[in-house]
């Protein structure tokens, strides 16, 4: 089942490259994936073992390296996110002027890589699948990007390459920090080893730091974030949706799946560092976001800023905070994808995204204005959207984490500062809304067409999922609880 | 150990001694005639010492010289082979015979190739 999720986009991409009609192939593949992901979600047995739909193929038995896919609640949620965002991204893709086959193939490869990374239970393939996206991203931004695409493409490629090789060192270190006889790439087995205390404590701190920096670069953690806004601003809309919505979640997923459950003590050891950095994400990047003068740059920075909340949930290391972080990953992925999709549509019509040129667009394009408003509210974290539910969990978790016994009062401070971050995001989102959709409409744009009905569907899909998850977060949290418990099991022990 | 190197030392002494004594003897016995430009020129196989610094030789010179060296050097291998041949065959195996035969046959191939390519044909 999970193999279908991974193989379907790859097969479609190859067929498209070989000459099949590209757009229908991509749409069909992403539709199949969406259906399969939903099916998997419904078939998942919450009372059964954590990882289900497991299938494996031995690669190097003596290294215990296997192609091993399986899914628990957390990965299923991520797979669903990938499927929804891919579907939406492919759907909203406008006509591609040149190298159409390659464009869709790149999108599908990114999707396949994300699917593979989220479905892998083997460290090696977990890592390798994520990197499948590297070349397509480079090509997507370089060939079909806008603005300063060249330097953006170089920057994201080299930055992510550096990050992923640091991550590789961390993973190698993790593999080698268990006794020789027990070494394995199987995450399940590693979790058992960690529970039995078999992971060498001496190297744990160093390994965790490598993982944190490696994943951190991929997530755009505060001092390593500079690649993200520019790349998202220059990338073609579907690429920005996939990258900001899905791929960036890979690093967070990795922290939740690998770093925290396997190295809980080291995670605690580096908590303070993480808190300082994530405050940088929320406050510093938040202020930077306010000062942006273009819609796409603002969205890029806002996606960097919101990573801070997810980090806060992860840093809290308790069930509440981790649940919140996991749900927020899902919610943020949907909301930022919707925002980029709308911004892309606006940009196509007006051919500029600078705030000073825009204004009053809600009049000719009521649907886009309404949808942008909803997505912006979701992004700020207004009640009713999934973002609200998860951010509340994150804040409660983080605040509680202090009570759990640390003398350092950083968590409280961080929570309070992060709450101010919500205000900051309200400021920039509303300002952007006002600058783009309210105010005086320049005459040349009075006849701009609103979104075609068929193109409204993907955006509605994204927003509806957000609302559904906002009103019934329990449905999703039920999936998350077991896997998140595994991540914070040490807390209950100590 | 160091005694084994005595012959080398002796050879070195003899070599240096010979060169030195040749110089010394020529100074002592040679008639110190009057120097003139002709006398000071380098004497080399009767060739004129003046002319272009990089005269053009026919590439045939090198070809023949290289072939000569190639086939000449091989004799060096045959000499020790011939010396140990009888004992080796008695002690081990006639493999030593076949190995030399294969060596010579490779040489023959090279020779045939050289002829076929016209390396020994001076006029070509």
């Amino acid at each position: 089942m999970l193999n279908i999720l991974i193989l379907c986009p790859i097969v479609a991409a190859i067929l498209a490259l070989l000459g099949a009609p590209a757009r229908p192939a991509a749409l069909l593949a992403s539709l199949i994936n969406l259906v399969v992901a939903l099916l998997a979600l419904f078939q998942y047995d919450k009372t059964g073992p954590a990882f289900q739909f497991v299938s494996e193929f031995g690669i190097l038995p003596e290294w215990r390296l296997t192609y091993l896919v399986g899914a628990d609640g957390l990965s299923l949620l991520m797979l669903l996110l990938t499927a929804i965002v891919t579907f939406a991204a492919v759907w909203v893709t406008p006509a591609v002027a040149r190298l159409e086959k390659q464009f869709y193939a790149c999108l599908l490869f990114i999707s396949a890589g994300a699917m593979g990374a989220f479905a892998s239970v083997d460290l090696f393939f977990f890592y390798a699948f994520h990197e499948l996206a590297l070349i397509p991203t480079f090509l997507l931004i370089g060939i079909w990007g806008s603005g300063d695409r060249q330097s953006a493409a170089w920057k994201i490629t080299i930055y992510l390459a550096l990050g992923s090789f640091i991550l590789l060192l961390g993973l190698i270190g993790l593999y080698q920090s268990v006794p020789v006889a027990a070494r394995t790439f199987d995450i399940r087995a590693l979790q058992e080893l960690a529970a039995a205390g078999k992971i060498h404590p001496a190297s744990a701190n160093g390994v965790y730091l490598l993982l944190l920096i490696g994943f951190g670069i991929l997530i755009s953690l505060f001092p390593f974030h500079t690649w993200a806004p520019k790349a998202y601003a220059s990338a073609p809309t579907p690429a920005a949706m996939l990258h900001a919505g899905v791929l960036k979640k890979f690093g967070l997923y990795g922290l939740l799946r690998v770093a925290l459950p396997l190295l809980p003590d080291a995670a605690r050891h580096w908590t303070h560092l993480l808190i300082i950095l994530l405050i940088g994400n929320i406050i510093y990047i938040g202020l930077v976001t306010i000062s942006q003068k273009r819609l796409d740059m603002m969205l890029g920075y806002s996606s960097v800023m919101h990573m801070g909340y997810i980090f806060l949930g992860i840093a809290s290391l308790n069930t509440l905070g981790l649940n919140g972080a996991a749900l927020l990953m899902f919610a943020h992925g949907l909301s930022i994808a919707a925002l980029f999709a709308i911004a892309g549509q606006v940009g196509r019509r007006t051919e500029t995204l600078a705030f000073e040129d825009l204004g009053g667009l809600a009049k000719p394009m009521p649907f886009l204005g309404f949808a942008f408003g909803l997505a912006a509210f979701a992004s700020i974290g207004l009640p009713g959207f999934a973002n609200f539910a998860s951010e509340i969990l994150v804040f409660f978790g983080a605040f509680q984490s202090h009570v759990a016994g640390s003398p350092f009062f950083g968590f409280r401070l961080a929570t309070v500062l992060a709450l101010w971050g919500v205000v900051i995001s309200a400021v920039y989102m509303l300002r952007a809304y006002k600058a783009v959709f309210m105010g005086e409409l320049p005459g040349r744009w009075s006849a701009l067409p609103d979104l075609k009905f068929s193109l409204r569907l993907p955006i509605v899909l994204l927003l509806a999922t957000l609302l559904f998850a906002g009103f019934c977060p329990r449905v999703f949290l039920a999936f998350l609880a077991p896997s998140v418990k595994a991540a914070s099991f040490r807390e209950t022990l100590s | 150990m160091i005694k084994d190197y005595l012959p080398i030392l002796i050879q070195a002494v003899v070599a240096i001694g010979f060169a030195a004594s040749a110089l010394v003897v020529s100074i002592i016995l040679g008639k110190a005639g009057k120097r003139n430009p002709t006398k000071d020129t380098a004497y080399e196989c009767g060739m004129l010492p003046e002319g272009n610094a990089q005269p053009r030789f026919s590439v045939k010179f090198y070809q023949v010289a290289m072939l000569f060296i190639l086939f000449d050097i091989e004799i060096v291998f045959m000499y020790p082979w011939a010396v140990v041949f009888r004992e080796f065959v008695r002690a081990h195996h006639p493999v030593i015979f076949w190995s030399m035969l294969s060596f010579v046959s490779i040489l023959t191939v090279g020779y045939v190739y050289a002829i076929k390519k016209g390396a020994l044909d001076w006029k070509k």
């Binding site: 190097l60 390798a128 | 191939v109 190739y113």
Partner: protein, 491 residues
């Protein structure tokens, strides 16, 4: 099961046969020589699978080993030579232009036959465990390269390359032999096995032995093209005919590395050498990584870029050599080289095809290749991705193994430099990708390749992905099946 030594004999006979065939045939067309070479070498390649793996009882075992690694590198040499011959056929137009003789294809026959002799030398070197044997096979390789590098004798670049290669290679050989004499002077042995026993056992004088080892290391440093012995590399790579450049960068480097491994495995376990030798190897690796990667970044000519990249890859492999003693150091080196073979030869094949049409091998000539011939561009993309080290390609698995052994041995400095230089590598390899896909082509005509070249390109690209996902075949070839290997079961 036949003894491995027959393989070399067959290859040599094949070479002699090719030369004679060329000399005696009156045909103008010389391509059949290459075809016969390809077919013959493929036959030998198949034979390697029916070769006895151990020669413990053989009379040659003092100077000739046929372990898994030796057989592996024999296959490596054969495969390289086959691809080089394919490449030579593709490239024959250029060679013809610079070697005019009495007949249009005069001189091409030897261009096809000489690589076969080089191949025999490489195969021999894979098995050589005695300094004399190593030296003789090294010379067989080097001398045929002297001719090949300067083959296009009316081309100033090729001649310059030839002279540089001749002088520096002869110098390095001098270092190598001088080192051997010092080691022989101390131990009284040329067989590596016996030298190892003496080093571990009796008291030997440290200074002279270390001096000898360093000289050998210097000599090998030239062969594997690591800094600071890299000065010859860029000019020679750029000047030599493309097939020869490919052969040099793969074959010559692999030969250097297998000898380095054999020598290092004898010297590094000795406690008083280990520390110093590892320090030197670390320094060499760090220098090569930094120099190769940084100097590659501003290059405009793809052949020159590949020269610097070859220095950089020597640096990566040296990381693993410095980690000898780790269980997987040997696998890491060999696997990396196998991956390097695939991706480098693929690059040169595509380069030759493009250069034939565009008339040059600068990166500019690749502009818009993605539009002109998507298949070639995709193959090149695979090669570049693998060279840069993107997962699910063979190049990544090689780098993974390298970092794996480095972590195991605690070489954190090298790991740091390695990660930084990998990021630098992304820049210059992706420059080619950028040219192929971002830029507009100068003309839209597709690049034509012969069916043979096309098939070889497809096979190499397939192997890059296949071995990147499923590396087991290579590791089996190096280690034997898991049941044969008590070491692995013991884990």
């Amino acid at each position: 099961m036949m003894p491995a030594i027959y393989l070399e004999a067959i290859v040599l006979t094949l070479g002699v046969l090719l030369v004679l065939m060329e000399a005696f045939s009156n045909s103008e067309e010389k391509t059949p020589v290459a075809w016969l070479g390809i077919v013959g070498l493929t036959f030998v390649f198949i034979l390697t699978f029916f070769t006895a793996n151990d020669l413990s009882a053989s009379p040659y075992s003092a100077f000739y080993h046929a372990d898994f690694r030796a057989i592996f590198f024999k296959r490596f040499a054969l495969l390289t030579t086959i691809v080089v011959l394919v490449l030579s056929i593709e490239y024959r137009g250029v060679v013809q232009k610079y070697v005019f003789g009495s007949r249009p294809q005069a001189g091409l026959g030897e261009f096809y036959a000489l690589p076969v002799f080089t191949c025999a030398g490489l195969m021999w070197m894979a098995s050589a465990v005695d300094f004399i044997m190593i030296f003789v096979s090294l010379e067989l390789v080097t001398i045929s390269f002297y001719i090949l590098v300067a083959y296009m004798r009316r081309n100033a670049g090729s001649l310059e390359a030839g002279v540089k290669y001749l002088i520096l290679s002869a110098l390095s050989t001098g270092f190598f032999v001088y080192g051997i004499t010092w080691i022989y002077g101390v131990t009284g042995q040329t067989s590596l096995e016996k030298i190892g026993a003496i080093l571990l056992g009796l008291k030997v004088s440290h200074g002279p032995l270390l001096f000898g080892f360093m000289l050998v290391l210097t000599g090998l440093g030239f062969k594997i093209a690591c800094a600071p012995f890299q000065i010859w590399v860029p000019d020679v790579y750029q000047g030599a005919p493309t097939p020869v450049t490919a052969f040099l960068s793969v074959g010559s480097k692999a030969a250097g590395f297998i000898v380095l491994m054999r020598v290092a495995e004898v010297f590094l376990p000795v406690p008083w050498i280990n520390h110093k030798a590892v320090t030197i190897l670390v320094a060499l690796a760090a220098l090569s990584l930094l120099y190769g990667n940084l100097a590659a970044m501003p290059q405009h000519n793809l052949k020159r870029l590949m020269a610097y990249s070859s220095i950089a890859h020597a640096g990566y492999i040296l990381i693993a050599v410095a980690c000898i003693g780790s269980r997987y150091a040997n696998i890491a080196v060999s696997f990396y080289l196998a991956g390097y073979l695939l991706m480098t030869l693929l690059t040169f094949l595509v380069m030759a095809a493009v250069a034939n049409q565009a008339g040059g091998d600068d990166i500019v000539h690749f502009n818009g290749l993605g539009k002109r011939s998507p298949y070639l561009a995709f193959a090149m993309l695979a090669a570049m991705a693998s060279l840069a080290g993107i997962p699910l390609t063979v190049g990544f698995f090689g780098k993974f193994l390298i970092f794996y052994v480095a972590y195991e041995k605690g070489q954190f400095l090298l790991m740091g430099i390695g990660v930084l230089t990998v990021a630098a590598g992304f820049y210059y390899y992706f420059k080619v990708v950028r040219a192929m896909y971002w830029k507009e082509p100068a003309d839209d005509t597709p690049v034509r390749t012969s069916p043979l070249t096309g098939a070889t390109i497809a096979a190499l690209a397939f192997c890059i992905f296949f071995l990147g996902v499923y590396p087991a075949p290579v590791i089996r070839a190096l280690e034997g099946p898991p049941s044969d290997n008590p070491r692995l079961l013991a884990r």
